[in-house]
């Protein structure tokens, strides 16, 4: 899974969000490292919707502009959980291997 996809799904894990909310949340989750642009975001949202990993939650009109909220589907939640577990397991192995090396260095 690409990092941008992982971060978008993570942004939606806590509840439904609209496009700009996702961009802001992704930036916050990645500590400012990942700044999604609108084109990239909507390509990803379209793909995730086609794969039934996210769905439209509701629509609102704010200042006469459409605001569409997206949410995770159960399949999207399962995929995110599996990916997070995989990354966590890899990170645990990496950290455990770095500890002895760090011990030798100090």
């Amino acid at each position: 899974m690409q990092e941008a996809t992982f971060l978008i799904l993570t942004a939606l894990a806590a509840g439904s969000q609209h496009g700009y909310g996702i961009i802001a949340d992704v930036r916050a989750i990645s500590a400012g490292r990942v700044h999604l642009k609108a084109g990239t975001l909507y390509s990803a949202l379209e793909r995730l919707r086609a794969d039934k990993l996210i769905e439209v939650d509701r629509e609102e009109l704010v200042d006469s502009r459409l605001r569409r909220y997206y949410r995770l589907t159960p399949a999207g939640g399962e995929l995110l959980a599996a990916e997070a577990a995989r990354l966590q397991a890899n990170a645990r192995v990496a950290m455990s291997r770095l500890k002895p090396a760090a011990g030798i260095a100090t």
């Binding site: 609108a38 084109g39 909507y42």
Partner: protein, 193 residues
Amino acid sequence: MSDSADLERRYRRLLACYPRAFRHEHEQEMLAVLMTGADEGQERPGLGEAADLFRSAIWMRLRPVVRRSQPTVFWAVRLMYFCAVFKLLGVPILPATRGSGAYPLDVGIGWGVFALLAWTNSRGHHWARVLFAVWVAFHTAALFYDVAHVSASSAPAWTLIASVVFWLVEFAAVVLILSKQSGAYFRHESAQM
């Protein structure tokens, strides 16, 4: 005209690069996101943002649109592309099965026809589905003709095997593309056009 109206007009011009169906679905909300993210007094889209929109629009036009969530169309289209590659590689098959034209011409046209049918079927064009079924029906008749005459012809037996393999792939693709699940995909895509 205000800065904001100028900026919106320029964003709309960039969004016009997207396919019509995508624009119909997302233009308003994308515009809202772009305008919300714009700086105070900004008149033009940033270079990076414009490049991202353009790249994304090109990708939306060229991307494979059939996802694994529509398995029958997904695999039918891949089998059609397989047929295109089979033709492009110029694997010799029986004369009637490959058509009545000269062989190099058949290879040149054959792979293009399969590639075009694969692309148009993936985009949910109902006529492409019908055309592919007609095309396979023609090849089926041609294969039966070849099987009946192969012993009398000078063609090596392995070309018969290649023809049967090719036909089986075509047949699998046509069964998948004519299935009920594929029908739902074509109806949905036609409604979006």
